[in-house]
Subunit: 137 residues, 2 copies
Amino acid sequence: MKDYKEILKSYNLKATPQRLYLIDEIEKSGHIDIDNLYKSLKIVFPYISLATVYKNINAMIDNGFLTEVKIPHNKTRYEITKNSHAHLFCIECAELKDIIVDNSWLINNTSKNSGYKITNTLITFEGICQACQDKSK
Amino acid sequence: MKDYKEILKSYNLKATPQRLYLIDEIEKSGHIDIDNLYKSLKIVFPYISLATVYKNINAMIDNGFLTEVKIPHNKTRYEITKNSHAHLFCIECAELKDIIVDNSWLINNTSKNSGYKITNTLITFEGICQACQDKSK
DNA sequence: CTCTGTGCAAAGCGTTTGCAAACGA
DNA sequence: TCGTTTGCAAACGCTTTGCACAGAG
């Protein structure tokens, strides 16, 4: 487990063991939903409350350390805020992966055409992952 | 109000007045959330139930006539299913607009790099619309 | 020592379900 | 007439809140 104490301190959050493991779980999984996060934390903290998980997630979303990832017809997941990247979502196994795409052209073009001052771009590709394609052969 | 009876018939849904107005409202607004849809329908059908709105929305999502649009930190909205397009979301006034972008390059590139068979691409630009930029001057 | 965070229970919201009556085809 | 849809009420699931105690700094 990495040392996340400094990170928490920089966000003015106390470094409780629950929080350290919570961050570790999100980091390890890449993207995780509340239920799986709660389940993982229960192994280490049998008496942890779901409310605690929500409170911590929300505190870390509010200060920008975590990002909420909404997927159509699927559970919301959370990831550690990273530089701009797109998501690949498998509609069969629900796997969610990061992928780096060059969207600068897209952004320039869209700002020009719309007059919007664009601050963030969310791209999700839905499809069938390699493993699920192989399975159905 | 357009004639949506044929549309409903083609989806094996009965053309009730509630449904005809519901479709009309979504068409007029472009994108609408449940609460505003319910409010609009209440004007014409004072006794309409929120459950009816949900049931109809869900029936039309299931058969593909409507599409759910999820926006981070905001209410889910519904739109009539159209050809591939991106969304522009204003983080100040919450306006949601369609915009046509050419994403063929993006899709080709991503399929090649990931091995995914991509079936759908969701793009949302977050930013500040022209009107809100002007306001804060 | 102080203030924040935790766990528990209850409340709050948005959404879904079951059912009898009304309605569309 | 028959099967679908409506409106109502209750149930459901996810998320938030209030509070007393525990723990971090």
